[in-house]
Amino acid sequence: MVSDQRIPVGAHYGWRDWLVQRVTAVIMAAYTVLVLFLLLWFGGLDRAAWQATFANELFRIASFVFMLALLWHAWIGVRNISMDYVKPTALRIPVLAVLATVLVAYIGWTLRVLWP
């Protein structure tokens, strides 16, 4: 039975998505600063600097965190775009399914690149 006192509050995932998109954005901005700093530190990009950077386990973990933040951020973004422009459910569900699959494939690829 529905009470008169019921306060409709929703599932809060709109608010959660909003917050996640901002937190992940800050993580990515910090990583961007780190990469720019490394580029300045090495004074450009040669193979030795490239190898040394990716040989560092901390950098690999930071890169992995960056990619997870990116993919979570991107999921919210592409989902919002799909919901705005792909109206028919019969089309939206396959589109979102393909995007989610691509996203998981990106995670697998990232692991392969960072820890070959």
Partner: protein, 132 residues
């Protein structure tokens, strides 16, 4: 009645054709935020993963990647991705600042939108000079 004192309303468009509306600067920055985001997801991520993977693989891989990145078309792709990253980052920073209720007035909102547009293009120009 006050309603009678109003000037005669100009004829308004009865439909919203996005191609016929002159968009305000914040709207342009907003739609470019979307376009750049989609571009980064669909092209940027696989591009960066591919380059990183091949450049790390071996000495030959490094050289092959270098010559691939020197192709004129690939340089154009990199330039587009650089713009997308810069625009998305700066427009995102503007978003977060506005979330803190800073620069919410119409005038400052337009100024910050124009700033995002111009600075990301200037930085992209810098990338272009670096690439060629």
């Amino acid at each position: 009645m006050a309603a009678l004192d109003r000037p005669v309303a100009k004829p308004r468009p009865i439909y919203l054709n996005l191609l016929r509306i002159r968009q305000p600067v914040p709207a342009i920055v907003s739609v470019l935020h979307r376009i750049s985001g989609a571009l980064l997801f669909l092209i940027g991520i696989p591009f960066v993963l591919w380059v990183t993977q091949h450049a790390l693989a071996s000495a030959q891989g490094w050289e092959a990647t270098r010559s691939a990145l020197a192709q004129p078309f690939v340089k154009l792709v990199m330039l587009a991705l650089a713009w997308a990253y810069l625009h998305h980052l700066l427009a995102g920073i503007r978003h977060v600042i506005q979330d803190l209720h800073i620069g919410m007035q119409l005038k400052s909102s337009r100024t910050s939108a124009a700033t995002v547009l111009v600075i990301s293009l200037l930085l992209t120009l810098g990338v272009a000079i670096r690439l060629w």
